[in-house]
């Protein structure tokens, strides 16, 4: 029964489907090519010719010219547009001009670094010149490391390695830092939020060390489509940047389809479960052996979909043909999956956004998204996984009941015509800054009057001196502590410590199967939680919170677990405030306490609640930045707490979703909490706060555009097809028709808008 229909036939079938609410066809586009730069070395020209490249796309040439003129650039390039030449070409030419010169490539992940080295080495081999390019990461053997340090013309690494292994040991890298001419930062758009703020500080440290050794490198950044590539790049590297966006690469025809599952409960506007629809759609393609990628938003979803899809191939010998891919798998396992995707042995993959990045998995034909990935930029990244080169391809986005998805499906023009999101970092987040100042002081002493890439840091250095981390002498601050600061600072996660997941199914052979940050662990690895890993169910038998270990055992049950997190908020200090309509909004420092309370067991097939249990874990505390939308009791129908609470929950729900769209972040990065009587004002309040100590500028950014965001919220709830409120617009609180949540949310939102 396999392999009968072609992709074209399946596309035609789908055209007749009434649940398709929007069909967007992106026509194919021809290449815009130009002549090779005249000053390009013959060896490079010939090497490219041998790889049948005799012309450049317009953006490649622009990038080359700007870099050779020593400008920092950021090139905005969609998937498969030949972005690597944007940096490889100038780097190679610079080497021909000065064989002593060095280049440093920074990729967000190890896997990307490996890919890029292979590609660069192919050109170098064709050129028949002696250019050493090496990856330098945790897997590099000790004996090779020395060679890389002394003789690597191009060193390919990742920010974590730069942070913990290269910069703190710069005395071993003198020949790199003395001769560093070019720094390449690929996948710029991934450096946002907490991670981006950390990396910006790593780059401050890198520049400081370059200056010490007398080099001043040019930066080449490449980015997927975001609203502010120039701003992000110049924030990240702390230098002015030129934008290159005259993309000249050809594109194959692509069908982008919005698929809204049918309504199964008219009154509540409840739709058929998106996950089930995704299963059905993906199966159609997989049955015909059409290589398909499915994106799900959470790890749990990935595993649920995976177990359904694997049913398709359960009778085949090669069960590996459909696989999962997400954070929490061990790196070795991931590399293996990437390989088997490229070789075609795996036809289906279910992934979280871990695969959004440019990891080379070859070309897939179909992409199915379980829900809106949370940002336009992210959607296009995922969509780019299908039809990377020139053939016809298909992208299907299946809506969830979430307000965001429904909002988007109401307004496809927002998606296809609107501007993509803004990526933000806050490199002066005090906690992040202090962490990196410690590393910087470890690397080189600070002199009085020194800045940290322009930032005056004397006050912090004095604080660290008081804490006896630094020692001041002779107008200089020296690191005087026996610790190695970079080891205690992780660029990736807010929590400093991860919970290790240990499978004890086989008594004599316990093994580590993955790890998870502590905040997620509170709701995913509590005692009795069902943890899914590569389609296998595990039950958590014991979570050792002190030792950060979760002991799990393989089980076979028909439910998954979903935990509640109770959150309390205290305003510590108000930095800014403003009026919004009849009410007011404050922005400042907040303290959040979070506690996992109970979990529910939810049946896999029907998604019904079949039981619950308590969670006993200590409270977690968080100091951060947040905003408070302060309302008034009089605004509500009654002063009954129940009513006020339900309306506030509805508002928090819609505010959080719309805000996340506007500041380009994951729902986990910006939390919303309603409080009937906030401590600081004693009024009903909706809080939004950054879920990272010290904040990363998300809520500040929301504060800056609050009027616009509230208008969008209003518009969205107003246009929702439901009657009295549904999980899509004002959330689950609306199930009680008495409360008339939708009506009241609309009323209060409209009073919160300021019209000019």
């Amino acid at each position: 029964m396999f392999g009968k229909k072609t992709l074209v036939e399946l596309i035609e079938e789908l055209r007749k489907d009434s649940q398709v609410t929007h069909w967007h066809e992106i026509p194919e586009e021809n290449a815009k090519s130009v002549e090779m730069p005249a000053d390009l070395d013959d060896k490079i020209t010939n090497a490219l010719k041998n790889r049948s490249i005799s012309q450049l796309y317009t953006h490649q040439k622009s990038a080359y010219e700007r870099v050779m003129a020593k400008d920092n650039v950021v090139a905005v390039t969609p998937t498969a547009s030949g972005k690597t030449l944007c940096y490889n070409l100038p780097v190679l030419q610079r080497h021909m001009n000065n064989p002593e010169g060095r280049a440093l490539y920074i990729f967000p992940t190890k896997a990307l670094a490996q890919d890029q080295m292979a590609e660069l080495n192919e050109i170098i081999d064709e050129m028949e010149v002696n250019i050493n390019s090496y990856t330098y990461d945790g897997d590099t053997p000790a004996n090779i490391r020395q060679v890389v340090r002394k003789a690597g013309h191009v060193v390919i690494t990742n920010p974590d390695m730069l942070h913990a292994a290269i910069l703190p040991h710069h005395t071993k890298w003198i020949s790199l830092f003395e001769n560093l001419e070019t720094i390449v930062i690929d996948e710029l758009h991934t450096y946002r939020g907490v991670f981006g703020s950390h990396v910006a500080n790593v780059i401050r440290r890198l520049k400081r060390i370059c200056a010490y050794y007398g080099s001043k490198p040019t930066f080449i950044c490449t980015s997927a489509t975001i609203a502010n590539p120039e701003e992000l790049a110049s924030e990240l590297i702390g230098e002015p940047v030129r934008l290159i966006n005259n993309n000249g690469a050809p594109k194959g025809r692509k069908h982008f389809v919005f698929y809204n599952p049918p309504i199964v409960h008219k009154q509540l506007n409840i739709r058929k479960n998106g996950t089930k629809v995704v299963n059905e759609l993906a199966s159609r393609f997989l049955k015909e052996k059409i290589q398909t990628i499915v994106f799900a938003r959470s790890r749990v979803r990935v595993e649920i979909i995976l177990s359904h899809l694997q049913e398709l191939v359960k009778n085949e010998i090669n069960r590996q043909s459909i696989r999962g891919y997400r954070g929490g798998y061990l790196p070795k396992q991931r590399r293996e999956i990437e390989r088997s995707l490229r070789s075609g042995e795996t036809i289906g993959v279910v992934s979280t956004n871990a695969l959004e990045l440019g990891v080379d998995i070859g070309q897939l034909q179909v992409c199915v998204m379980n829900g809106y990935p949370g940002s336009i930029a992210s959607s296009w990244q995922q969509a780019g996984r299908a039809g990377r080169r020139q053939d016809e391809s298909m992208v299907i986005m299946v809506a969830n009941s979430s307000p965001l998805d429904q909002y988007l499906f109401q307004h496809p023009e927002y998606f296809f015509e609107g501007s993509p999101e803004t990526a933000r970092i806050n490199k002066n987040n005090l906690i992040i800054l202090v962490d990196h100042l410690k590393c910087a002081a470890y690397e080189l002493p600070f002199h009085r009057g020194d800045t940290f890439d322009g930032e005056d840091v004397a006050e912090i250095l004095e604080y660290l001196t008081d804490e006896r981390v630094l020692h001041e002498n002779n107008e200089q601050w020296f690191w005087m502590n026996d610790a190695f600061p970079a080891h205690n600072i992780s660029l990736r996660s807010a929590a400093q410590e991860n919970v290790v997941i240990i499978d004890q199914s086989v008594v004599e052979n316990h093994r580590v199967i993955g790890e998870m940050d502590t905040f997620s662990a509170m709701t995913l690895l509590h005692d009795e939680a069902i943890y899914l890993h590569e389609g296998t169910q595990y039950q958590v038998e014991y979570l050792d919170w002190d030792e950060k270990k979760a002991f799990v055992r393989e089980v076979d049950v028909e439910y998954f677990t979903d935990a509640n997190l109770a959150v309390k908020l205290k305003v510590l200090e108000i930095d800014k405030q403003d009026d919004v309509g009849q009410y007011s909004i404050q922005y400042g420092d907040v303290m959040v306490t979070a506690m996992a309370t109970i979990f529910k067991k939810i049946k896999l097939e029907t998604f019904e609640n079949i039981g619950s249990g308590p969670i006993h874990l200590p409270e977690q505390e968080l100091h951060s930045n947040g905003l408070a939308l302060t309302l008034s009791k009089d605004a509500f129908a009654s002063e009954k707490e129940d009513h006020i609470e339900q309306v506030l929950m509805g508002m928090a729900h819609v505010l959080q979703h719309v805000s996340c769209v506007h500041v380009m972040c994951d729902r986990n990065d910006l939390h919303a909490v309603p409080e009937v009587k906030a401590i600081h004002s004693e009024q009903p309040t909706v809080f939004l706060y950054d879920r990272y100590p010290g904040g990363v500028g998300l809520s500040e950014s929301v504060y800056g555009q609050i009027n616009e965001i509230i208008k969008e919220c209003l518009d969205f709830v107003w246009n929702c097809a439901c009657e009295g409120g549904c999980p899509s617009c004002v959330g689950v609180a609306s199930v009680d028709p008495e409360a008339e949540v939708k009506k009241w949310v609309l009323k209060i939102l409209s009073q919160t808008v300021t019209y000019e």
Binding site: E459, H471, N473, A483, F484, E573
Partner: protein, 429 residues
């Protein structure tokens, strides 16, 4: 909110390194803290501790030189041993890791550093360099002390000045820690200072591990000293305390905090002199020092790995001789050694003895004998018997690791199969 008050509020999220609690006893012993002004204030205190100031490029560093005159029978033996070792290296053209061939005794530099941490990155500073030299009169210990982190050029230049290109370093873990650290610090001031010469380097930790890692709880210098050199330190400050004491010194500006570290380092470098002598004599003058059977065995093993077979033979024999029990493993290794040396007869004898001497001889002994019977004696039946012995022994053994055992079983099965076939062929043919 000011940055400072924010910092204080967020203190929980900021990871300020834990301050290490000092042991109570040590606190009691601490001498009252005196505060000194900057400038020349500490010079008096340093002088009292035997250090003299030293200037370079406007920076100051402190240096101390102290002679421990040779005294008594023990030291006479020490001097004698070193002279004989020197002649030994001249006469024997070995490429042995302990060799200082071609160097006069006063070129040996027994070397150790104290640093502000155990990491090897750019922020780890050396604050004390000590080394001992052998002179005509005694052991001369020189120590350089970093007065403050801004005087590093003076500190290192004082040390480099005292150094000759043909000096030979003897250290304890210096190859992977102290010397890379010197290189890293030198890199910071490489423009002010002469290039760092590349010295010959003997790392005694490697030797100590060869000889004693199976018997000592750890090969830390203080433990080796106690068990092997019978040096017992009184009031010693453990090396791990050194960073904290240096931070205290910088903070309180009181050189007395450093007294313990300075004494510790002084003892360390002198111990290295005796340690070198002890190890070298055990290896090369084995007749005049008592070594245990196991020491001889591991020395033999080391020589074998260095392809110095005659030396290995001597020590394996001694290992057997000194052993109070029948030392099957010793005969076995001696057998294998003879095989390498091409002395088949002796090899077989020793392998057979190793089997006779133990109820559980090494499986490999049977296998070796089986190989010999098959290939040299052309006695397939005998070879098969031996292989079967090996097989039954292997089945009983559970000491070997799973992986190794699987490989052995596999190999042995192949051998058995091949021998059975050969035997069948012989019978048939």
């Amino acid at each position: 909110m000011s940055i400072k008050s924010k910092l204080l509020r967020m203190k929980n999220h900021l990871q300020v390194e834990d301050k290490i609690e000092r042991p109570v006893e040590e606190l009691k012993e601490r001498i009252e803290v005196k505060k000194f002004d900057q400038g020349n204030g500490m010079e008096t205190e340093f002088k009292e501790m035997g250090f003299e100031p030293f200037y370079f490029d406007g920076e100051r560093s402190y240096r101390k030189r102290l002679l421990y005159p040779f005294d008594g029978e023990r030291d006479r033996l020490l001097v004698d041993s070193f002279h004989r070792l020197k002649s030994f290296w001249e006469e024997n053209d070995h490429d042995h890791p302990l060799s200082f061939r071609g160097k006069s005794l006063d070129r040996l530099l027994f070397f150790d550093t104290e640093t502000t941490g155990l990491s090897t990155g750019a922020g780890n500073v050396i604050f004390l360099i000590g080394y001992a030299r052998l002179t005509e009169e005694g052991i001369e210990v020189t120590q350089h002390l970093l007065e403050s982190p801004s005087d590093e050029a003076a500190f290192l230049s004082g040390f480099l000045e005292d150094f000759a290109e043909d000096d030979y370093l003897v250290s304890y873990n210096g190859k992977s820690f102290d010397w890379p650290q010197v290189k890293s610090r030198h890199a910071f001031i490489r423009k002010q200072l002469p290039k760092l010469p590349s010295f010959g380097h003997i790392d005694l930790l490697h030797s100590a591990r060869r000889l004693w890692k199976h018997e000592l709880p750890s090969c830390r210098l203080s433990i080796v000293e106690e068990h092997k050199l019978h040096i017992y330190r009184k009031h010693d400050i453990p090396g791990s305390m050194a960073p904290i004491l240096y931070f205290d010194y910088l903070h309180d500006k009181d050189p007395l905090h450093l007294k313990g570290v300075i004494d510790h380092n002084d003892q360390d470098v002198r111990s290295l002199v005796y340690l070198y002598e002890e190890i070298a004599r055990k290896l090369f003058f084995s007749k005049e020092v008592r070594s245990s059977s196991m020491e001889h065995f591991y020395i033999g093993d080391w020589f074998e790995k260095l392809s110095m077979y005659e030396w290995a033979e001597t020590h394996y024999k001694k290992a057997i001789e000194c052993s109070t029990q029948s030392f099957s493993q010793g005969y076995f290794r001696l057998g294998l050694l003879y095989k390498k040396m091409g002395e088949k007869k002796k090899a077989i004898d020793n392998l057979e003895t190793s089997i006779d001497k133990s109820a559980f001889p090494p499986v490999e002994a049977w296998i070796e004998l089986s190989k010999y019977a098959e290939h040299d004696e052309k006695n397939v039946a005998k070879a098969l018997t031996y292989a079967k012995e090996a097989y039954s022994l292997l089945k009983k053994a559970n000491r070997v690791t799973e992986k190794k055992k699987i490989k052995q079983v596999e190999d042995l099965n192949n051998r058995l199969k091949r021998l059975e076939m050969k035997k069948a062929k012989q019978m048939g043919g």
